[in-house]
Amino acid sequence: MNTPKHFGLAVAAVLLLACVPAFAGASVVDKLTTLFIYMLLATTWNLMAGYAGLVSVGQQAFFGLGGYFALRLVDGGLPAYPALLAGALGAALLAWVLSFYVLRLKDGEFAIGTWVVAEVIRILVMLDPLIQGETGTSLIALNAVEPELRRSIGYWFALAALAGMALAMAVLLRSHVGTAAKAIGDDDEAAASLGVRVLRTRQVIYVLAALGAALAGVAWLASAITFLPRTNFGVQWSVLMLFMVLVGGLRSGSGPYIGALLLFALQELMGDFGAWYLAGLGAAAAGCALFLPQGLWGALSPRLSRLFARPHVSSSVSIPQERTVP
């Protein structure tokens, strides 16, 4: 996504996709909504892990929290769709508060710490009588909306969230925050010694990623309508995010999208999340981490670009092969 041409293509793609509900059937719209949600999760997890070196196993906290806040707001009288958006923003706000604690943890502590925080949030949410513990509840207000319209709105919501997040991330990575994040991802002590404001940079990324996960969560709630704590706060979302990003390609721009497409395709082929299927996902993710660090996209894209390369004049400047140690 480097050139204005790419940007133009992206805008055209979004506009085209926005027209889909007009002529496509219900199941297509639903499936595409799910795909957008996967992509949202994958790109935000990639932002944290690939660019800032933050491996969080607790993103599901914000996925579920967005939905929970939305439910509470609806219970308090707010109309459904504004409540969904507000819920996501509320989750991002909580992420900002948590970041002061969580971002001071290192590596493994951070991974497990975010998981524990997610568990605490899940337990606290389950204590709320509105949620009724394991039983969960539903966003009944949405039932009042006519199904086809509801489906379309859910679709546009997910698409808008994805497009908005993609735009925000593209802007962010081009800004000084983006360079700072890459420096931190490489070596945070060295970056700090150069004056990079490590905590602030990480905070921006953490909160943005939380917002993305929360938007995905409310989009999920908007289409599924039911809210089950085990599902909406389940750690299997992290497994899926891990798979999409690692298989697609950590740190690459298009990698997460490829990974999301792949996950989506696999789900369609396998029917639903059976046990062996998830095991296979885990194995594939681990395998890619070990043997294909660039993910599938990283492994394939040099070959693809060679296929499409145009001949060019080679530079006449020769680069010395070695330099001696001064």
């Binding site: 070695e322 330099r323 001696t324 140690v325 001064p326």
Partner: protein
Amino acid sequence: MSEMLLEVQGLRAAHGQLVAVRDLGFSIARGEVVALIGANGAGKTTLLRCLAGVHPTAAGRVTLAGQDITALLAHQRVRRGLAMVPEGRRLFDDMSVRENLRVAGDHGRAGEWTLPRVLEALPALPPIIDRPAGALSGGQRQAAAIGRALMTNPDVLLLDEVSLGLSPLAVEEVYRNLAALAGRTSLLLVEQDLSRAMAFADRVLCLREGRIVLQGPAQSLTREAVTAAYFGVEFDVEAERPMETQP
């Protein structure tokens, strides 16, 4: 059949894209003491680490007692009799001096250097034998590191930066200890102090930019020649002074 204990041919090593050691070749006889000198960054530490097996070599051959050890890992080279006292000593700080020595004794070769003998040869050690290695002074750490390497009964002992960070008294002590080894164990030591290096060693190797630019018996090399090689100035052997620089 060469009588050389350690032979190095065509050694080449790099740090990523930067070549640190290029096409290096030399040999060390049994019991010989060789001083390795050169400016910072000349490749001395890299060379030692390659010989010890903890730095990858891009090309070349290392032979110990006639056997090719180029492909061997560090711990395997120790078992063949090649040990190193690394830069920074690298003692196991949470373990006592005794335990540091015993680890090396457990996994090195058997031989004359047992724990009692090492303690006898390094008088600084017995008083601190049960102290944690992290609580030692610079000189004590050096003694402990040398003792640890000795416990593996090496035929060739590599020492990186012998006197770095030590007080003059401590340096005296170290060289007294090393003198006891000379003749039995071959020593290749990196030393920044030129006069000490030339006084102690049998032979001197001067490295610059990864190459040997001067080598010879310590007695027959003049200080001027060595200094010139060290800093990269052309030396006029007959006139025994640095050459005039070209206009």
